[in-house]
């Protein structure tokens, strides 16, 4: 029992120190001065927006697309995946008015989901780069230009990844925590990975990629629910790079209700479990350039969960004297410090984002006990759904995130 506790504690602290190291790198990367110069010639870019029943947000998205400032050729393609609301009417009105915006109806097909829609969009574009935005995104006017400048001027880069900010962060406690999670894990850690190892990972949105690179990789994996994470590994396995550009910002909606949040995150986690399984079967996931991605993936989605789950069970059993721990190590103090280190990371991200008001800091203080613990529940739910579908030999269906009215402009 003691050995298990010591192993678990060591594992937690290794992960915590690793993330703290990333956070330090992230802080250094975020505080730099934008290092890229203006280009003489800007390459052509297609923006792909997959959409299924996005009428609530679509006009604000297209409004932001029309406001993008890009010195090269830029086209925006709304890929309507059989919407039954007014997505089509909005798309058609914008494409009739503005030469930059095009409306395309995606033919019905299987498997359902973003990857198939993106592959359809990629089949007819003629630009050098493509950029994906989710249907609720409102990029800042210079976002595309900044991503392109970084992609063109970074050695071995085939694209670039920007920063996703939460437009409805102040709506309620849940959206505040999601926004905080994005600040810490999406930007700070992502920036840290780039700073230390020149390793960026694609997000599902605000990501630029060379069309020729994706063609060489064989397009999107249509069965991947976390298509961004899956593609990241394949890009890394080629030795290609994806610079992280915090200055290229887009704003998106996050779930305002716990029910929608759970469904969205379950889909993401199932996607990551799919990737985990793929990584165990495919040797290319473990070469020199993909090793860190894969180790991090397996540590987070497998070892961490197993250790956390078993130690929670043991803790409960020891409370009822079913098992006993005879360690001289002050476990409580060590656990407390892990809380302090975790909260310090959140606080650092808040300060960097100039988001450290009194209430926000208080929200950051309770994240560990609330939001972070949800991860375990979500992961258990996702593992159950994943294996249940595998046993029944069914394809897991794409679950679209519901959008909300308001706070769009």
């Amino acid at each position: 029992m003691d050995i298990f506790f010591i192993t678990a504690m060591t594992f937690f602290w290794v992960l915590l120190i690793y993330y703290s190291w990333l956070a330090v790198g992230g802080v250094i990367h975020r505080r730099r001065i934008y290092p890229f110069e203006k280009l003489d010639d800007y390459p052509s870019v297609s923006i792909l927006i997959p959409a299924h029943n996005e009428g609530v947000v679509m006009q604000y998205t297209l409004q932001a697309m029309q406001a993008l400032e890009y010195p090269g050729r830029l086209q925006v393609i709304l890929l309507d995946d059989n919407s039954s609301d007014d997505t089509e009417a909005i798309g058609r009105e914008y494409s009739r008015l503005f030469s930059r915006i095009h409306y395309v109806q995606v033919p019905p097909g299987e498997p359902k989901g973003k990857s198939r829609v993106l592959n359809h969009g990629l089949s007819f574009i003629d630009t050098e780069y493509f950029l994906v935005y989710d249907a609720d995104n409102q990029p800042e006017p210079d976002a595309v230009q900044k991503l392109v400048e970084a992609a063109v001027q970074t050695k071995k880069a085939v694209g670039a990844v920007g920063y996703v900010k939460t437009v409805n962060a102040r709506k309620n406690l849940l959206t505040r925590m999601i926004a905080l999670e994005f600040e810490v894990f999406q930007l700070l850690m992502q920036s840290g990975r780039w700073h230390w190892w020149k390793m960026g990972s694609l997000a599902g949105t605000n990501m630029l990629l060379k069309v020729s690179a994706l063609e060489e990789l064989g397009g999107y994996d249509e069965y991947a629910l976390a298509e961004d994470a899956e593609l990241t590994i394949r890009v890394a396995s080629k030795g290609w790079r994806l610079p992280v550009v915090p200055e290229a910002r887009t704003w998106e909606q996050e779930p305002e209700q716990l029910r929608i949040f759970i469904r969205q995150r379950t889909r993401w986690l199932i996607g990551n479990i799919y990737l985990l399984e793929k990584s165990l079967k495919d040797a290319s996931f473990w070469n020199r350039t993909t090793l860190i991605h894969s180790i991090q993936h397996i540590a987070t989605y497998f070892f961490f969960v197993v250790v956390l789950f078993v130690s929670n069970v043991l803790l409960i059993l020891s409370l009822f004297d079913v098992v006993s721990v005879s360690l001289a190590v002050p476990l409580l103090m060590v656990w407390f410090m892990s809380y302090i280190v975790y909260t310090s990371q959140i606080l650092s991200a808040q300060v960097l984002e100039k988001d450290a008001g009194s209430f926000q800091v208080a929200v950051g203080g309770i994240m560990y006990f609330t939001y972070a613990q949800l991860f375990l529940v979500l992961l258990a739910k996702s593992f159950f759904s994943y294996f249940a579908s595998r046993i029944r030999k069914r394809t897991i269906l794409w679950d679209k995130t519901e959008r909300f009215k308001g706070e769009n402009s």
Binding site: L97, P330, M333, M337, L347, V351, A356, S358
Partner: protein, 258 residues
Amino acid sequence: MKPTVSMTILFTIMTLCLLLMFQVGGALLQAISMMLVLAAVAGMALLPKRYIFPAALSLILLYGFYLTGWSVFFASAPAQLTLISHHILFSLFTVSVWLFFASFKTLLAEHAALEKQVDELKKYEPSSMLLSISEFESRVELMLTGMKRRGESGYLLHIVLKPQVYATAALQKSMSGVILESIRAQYDMATINQDGSFSVFLQNTDETGVGIVKNRLDENRQKIMAAEEPPYDVYSSYMEEYDFHTSAAQLYRVRKEA
């Protein structure tokens, strides 16, 4: 939450933490606390702004690891719960002092920035860099006085967007850019009215000049808009009697008749 409310709460937390900190633990722990509290307050007051947060965070983390080390290596260390309570109180105190100072400094900075912004907003319509209505009217009236003295003629244009179901805001923003590109930056002026139409004042020009501007509007519009037909109508009026309000009223009549 209003800054005054949050600052009062922070002050209360600071005071409570200080009081409680000196009730928990033995003399040694309290002596360490006293030194750390003094270091934290002095640091916040004396350090340059950019170093305050890293310093506060370092202090919290180092103190935490010091207490952990004490607990691990010395059997005589106070109970874990005492150490944890002490660290929580110290961290709360430090974070509250930092937030208090930060709120105060932010209020001062915001005040200065807002004053500057208000001055700018008095001149421009913020999202488009068109002039605000009041700035447009006062500048036109000023220019008309000069034009009258020099015997020059001027024109007032109204650009009215055709109604759209979903893309009204996007069209308005794009047209702002088109208009600014199509008029002479040094001589002409434009504003957006409350009904979403645009008013453009063309100084020292005649009907030929108005025609040139209309063509330029169409050329620039076609660079970004797909529609064959312009999604707007243009009405123009000669600035009679060098009076802005008379000319504007006349233009509204022309629009209404059209």
